[in-house]
């Protein structure tokens, strides 16, 4: 309920849900059920430390190292744990590889399950009803909205994440990247390419096979 308070300038009143969250937080801290330091650590971790750069390292390594790629495809949780990527919401991860024959996309139709250790917190569009409903029904149209057009012969497979299983898409390695090191390769791997709503970027250098 807005009110005129120009005579008595006070602290800006946060929105209703923020007041309710503060109420919960106060109650839980007073009862010793949570530690405020733990809350700050969690927010800092997902705002600043864990994000799609982790997944990009995994993809770059899979592109460069056949042994790692095989390990990743057979047991992703173990393979990425060896690189130091494990923790909350990463207990059972599965890597699905894009090829000329199949393009993979991930969704969580129930809520927003997502491989946090590799990609961080999902973007708002991943959590929206529009994406969650449409990607199952009309994945090619969703891809078109993201500016992706697949070859007619490429099948689309949509993987529905759950609390138990989180998927990561391994995008196809772009042409013209033969000489690139891991860091340069990882820079081509966007968050969306590991959800399946984008392709890996082409390198900035002129591709070796330029159709134009």
């Amino acid at each position: 309920m807005p009110h005129d308070h120009s005579d008595h300038p006070h602290a800006l009143l946060p929105p209703e849900p923020a007041l309710r969250v503060k109420a919960l937080e106060t109650i839980l801290i007073r009862k010793g059920l949570i530690d405020p330091k733990a809350l700050n650590e969690i927010i800092d971790t997902y705002q600043n430390k864990i994000g799609p750069q982790n997944g990009a390292q995994v993809v770059a390594r899979a592109w460069s190292d056949a042994e790692f790629r095989a390990a990743l495809l057979s047991d992703a949780t173990a393979a990425v744990s060896d690189l130091g990527y494990f923790g909350r919401q990463g207990e059972h991860m599965v890597a699905v590889e894009n090829t000329d024959a199949v393009h993979n996309m991930i969704v969580c139709t129930l809520c927003s399950c997502y491989p946090w250790p590799l990609l961080g917190i999902p973007p708002a569009w991943y959590k929206s009803d529009a994406y969650r409903a449409r990607v199952v029904r009309e994945p090619r149209r969703v891809l078109a909205d993201f500016g992706v057009t697949l070859a007619a012969g490429t099948a689309v497979r949509v993987w529905d994440s759950t609390a138990e299983i989180r998927y990561l898409v391994i995008p196809m390695r772009p042409a013209g990247t033969e000489g690139l090191d891991l860091e340069a390769l990882a820079a081509l791997v966007s968050r969306d390419s590991m959800i399946g709503t984008a392709l890996a970027q082409k390198p900035a250098q002129k591709p070796t096979q330029d159709p134009g």
Binding site: L13, A23, I121, S128, A130
Partner: protein, 111 residues
């Protein structure tokens, strides 16, 4: 939705501070053993479905409203934060904001 041109443009992980706070509360309670993540997902999915019956929810405020409603439901049920207590503390916080001069740190007496 985004498109390929914006794919690598950084965007805030949480659109609002309270989104981050309610997220952290929930993760922390899960880690302290208050509920399993599977239980959380089951409850949260049901609330999301309920909220989305008559319209498409966005992945920002709508999504975290459902998240907060789920957490309130669970904590009211298990007695950790009964609804009346939450209402009371919510009013305390509102009063604290209205009574704190602009620029000063807002806090509850005895918090």
């Amino acid at each position: 939705m985004s498109n390929c041109l914006t794919a690598n443009v950084p965007e805030p992980v949480f659109q609002q501070p309270w989104h981050a706070q309610v997220f952290a509360l929930t993760v922390s309670l899960n880690e302290n053993g208050r509920f399993t993540w599977s239980d959380w997902v089951a409850r949260f999915s049901a609330v999301l479905a309920q909220h989305g019956l008559d319209r498409d929810l966005d992945g920002g405020d709508d999504y975290f409203h459902a998240w907060l409603a789920t957490l309130e439901l669970i904590l009211a049920e298990d007695g950790a934060a009964p609804a009346a207590e939450v209402d009371h503390l919510r009013d305390d916080w509102e009063r604290a904001y209205l009574e704190t001069p602009h620029g000063a740190v807002v806090d509850l007496d005895g918090a």
